[in-house]
């Protein structure tokens, strides 16, 4: 099993080692991730103070892989996705750290420089296609506007391509529908349009921010299948932002669990879901129903609520809610920030003071 590894791009970390048994061709690509985010921080200056939405986050992602970023509402998932493409309002957000994409630090680029990546090499799929698509413009206009500008394609050629993309994402009668407006589509079809839009530029990386949250369950599954299919077909790197663990087990190769703007656990999705090493991850798993588990089993939501990012708790940000902190000596949890470090296997990362293996594997915790 091959996974992306934190900090793997740096040559001095090459002793972390990479497993080359993955399906990906070419050794070069396995050594060098497509996307390497290092020590990313996103701060918003608000009237109440500075919100630390993302706080020293690092991860990497290779071609042909799907990395799921999970966490409760407010954990900084969207802020991370937007920061990669520099989409935050520069007047309000302060970004630091590196966002290395194919060897270029995107965090150091201005709007003009970023425009060369947006839509063409990195595409975004947003949560709610109803608000993320303009109600005033036809699908054709929205799909072809950037494409034509980039490629100089004629209107006809661009429309033909838009129709192809709509067909590819499974929209029936695309020739007719390309001329319609977003409000004339159903929720699922609209999300397909968003995905078609992302595909227009043949991106290497797609960032999908909760692409199925606004949809009902059956449609959710269809959209996920579509994304997974496209990902495999085009050897895309897919950064899938979600708070739904069912989504993770269905389509992700790897997962990164975020809490209060930091990574708390990372690893191959199947491993993390089967044997979480962080109390927060385990809490998340316990709070969702499982398919092969006992349907009557009690679901235990994590006690308490996510921290106030204006004034995050000292030490481990999760400590006010953690049921394991007694097992850690003294009040280390409340004073010392646990480092996000590999757990033996370099692919498995965690930020917790507990000794590794301290959490017993959860029976039937994998959804689906």
């Amino acid at each position: 099993m091959v996974t992306s590894v934190y900090d793997g791009y740096d040559s001095d970390n090459s002793d972390n080692g990479y497993d080359n048994t993955g399906s990906h061709e070419g050794e070069e690509a396995t050594v060098r991730p497509l996307l390497a985010v290092e020590d990313l921080a996103v701060r918003f200056d608000t009237e109440g103070g500075t919100v630390q939405a993302v706080n020293g986050l690092s991860f990497s992602l290779r071609r042909g892989r799907t990395l799921a970023v999970v966490g409760e509402s407010g954990s900084g998932k969207s802020a991370t996705g937007l920061a990669i493409l520099g989409l935050h309002d520069r007047r309000r957000a302060r970004i630091s750290g590196r966002v290395e994409f194919d060897g270029v630090d995107l965090a150091g680029l201005q709007e003009r420089g970023l425009a060369a990546y947006r839509g063409s090499r990195i595409a975004m799929v947003f949560q709610d296609a109803l608000t993320a698509l303009s109600p005033y413009h036809t699908i054709e206009r929205q799909l072809t506007d950037a494409y034509r500008r980039r490629t100089g394609a004629s209107r006809r050629a661009a429309r033909t391509r838009a129709v192809e993309m709509l067909a590819r994402v499974g929209i029936p009668d695309p020739v007719r529908r390309v001329a319609e407006y977003p409000h004339e589509f159903s929720g699922g079809m609209r999300q397909r349009v968003m995905i078609a839009m992302a595909l227009m530029g043949e991106p290497d990386l797609v960032i999908a921010d909760e692409p199925t949250t606004a949809l009902d369950v059956t449609v959710q599954a269809q959209i996920l299948d579509l994304l997974a299919g496209l990902q495999a077909e085009s050897d895309l790197a897919l950064l899938l932002i979600t708070h739904d663990l069912g989504v993770v087990s269905g389509v992700a190769h790897d997962m990164l669990v975020m809490y209060a703007g930091r990574g708390v656990e990372q690893g191959p999705a199947a491993e993390v879901l089967a044997a979480p090493e962080h109390p927060y991850t385990r809490g998340l798993l316990r709070s969702v129903p499982t398919l092969h588990g006992d349907p009557d089993a009690d679901l235990t939501p994590i006690a308490g609520s996510p921290p106030d990012l204006l004034d995050p708790p000292p030490g481990c940000a999760f400590h006010p809610r953690c049921d394991q902190r007694e097992r850690v000596g003294g009040d280390r949890c409340a004073t010392e920030v646990p480092a996000f470090v590999p757990l033996g296997d370099p692919e498995r990362m965690r930020a917790c003071h507990l000794p590794s293996g301290a959490l017993e594997a959860l029976e039937g915790s994998v959804i689906r």
């Binding site: 493409l85 839509g119 975004m124 993320a132 303009s134 005033y136 506007d145 839009m197």
Partner: protein, 324 residues
């Protein structure tokens, strides 16, 4: 589309009927006796009765209203005189036909409104967009400051000062005044120039501020972010995507302002000595010239109804979700 126009047309007619009924009632049912007013100083009871009869005032009120409506749509007899549709009666003061007086005066008011609107929208909206795009920078601050000064001006003050300076002293602009556009387009334009500019300075300022905030609000729409995420250049993102949402807000404001404009037309027309509908209304009220008052009220109401219908129509053009 056709059904929509028909519905709106019928709605407009209905509104105007109500307006006409209310004006009619107010002025004809009030204690002031129109016949008395029309009769003059040396009024004998015989001539009063005579006038009352010729004006149809000796009939029941509903009949009078019916006759009034009949006059508007199909013409009517006043005594022996045939008053062709749209007949609104004759002035008590000078016995002129109300409808021809209105037809005479309305173009001046319309010219004021149309020209000023064009200037206000192009200048106000243009600078508003510019300020929004340069938000927080020097140009934005300058524009906002200028807008503030402009918005604090009054038409009569600015108009008189500008007239004194630009027309009387420096001779940069022709004397304000109304000339029929068909009789001499050049003179029409020249005479309207100062009023237009004055109105534009005063109101465009409001539009600069309004457009600026509408644009800034529109920028926070998610689809504007989508447009950025697609790699579209800022110009396209702002002017094609954000602007569409702002336009709806600006249009709403403009629709409301058309009514306000008519309300303030009295001041404008007086300041620039333009004999429009508003001045006519003022003199009619002073003279208690009831048919003329009714006429001006109806014209004003029609103007507003037509404008609002046009604005609604524009909505449908801008926003495909608005079904006609």
């Amino acid at each position: 589309m056709f059904g929509y126009i028909l519905r709106r047309g019928l709605g407009a007619v209905l509104i105007l009927l109500v307006v006409s009924a209310v004006t009619f009632l107010l002025f004809y049912a009030l204690p002031a006796d129109p016949a008395r007013l029309s009769c003059g100083k040396t009024c004998t009871p015989q001539s009063l009765a005579q006038i009352r009869h010729s004006m149809g005032l000796d009939r029941p009120l509903p009949v009078q209203y019916w006759q009034f409506l009949h006059g508007v749509f199909a013409g009517r007899h006043f005594d022996t005189v045939w008053c062709a549709a749209p007949c609104l009666g004759y002035s008590f003061v000078n016995q002129q036909s109300v409808s021809s007086t209105l037809a005479d005066r309305f173009p001046a008011t319309l010219s004021l409104a149309a020209g000023a609107s064009v200037l206000i929208l192009t200048v106000g909206v243009g600078f508003g967009i510019l300020a929004a795009l340069r938000r927080g920078r020097a140009l934005d601050k300058q524009l906002t400051a200028v807008a503030l000064v402009g918005a604090s001006m009054q038409v009569y003050f600015l108009g008189i000062v500008a007239r004194y300076l630009l027309v009387d002293q420096l001779d940069l602009l022709p004397q304000p005044g109304y000339t029929g556009i068909t009789s001499d387009p050049g003179k029409w334009f020249g005479g309207m120039l100062l009023p237009w500019i004055t109105l534009a300075v005063v109101s465009a300022a409001t539009y600069v501020r309004f457009t600026r905030s509408a644009m800034i609000e529109a920028e926070s729409q998610e689809y504007v972010r989508t447009a950025r995420a697609q790699g579209l250049p800022p110009r396209v993102v702002h002017l094609r995507y954000a602007w569409r949402a702002a336009l709806t807000l600006v249009l709403t404001q403009f629709g409301l302002d058309l009514g306000v404009f008519l309300g303030s037309a009295v001041i404008t027309e007086t300041t620039f000595n333009i004999h429009g509908i508003a001045q006519l209304a003022v003199t009619s009220v002073t003279n208690l010239d009831l048919p003329m008052i009714t006429g001006t009220v109806l014209v004003a109401a029609t103007f507003i109804v037509v404008c609002n219908t046009a604005v609604d129509f524009c909505y449908a053009l801008i926003d495909p979700r608005v079904r006609l």
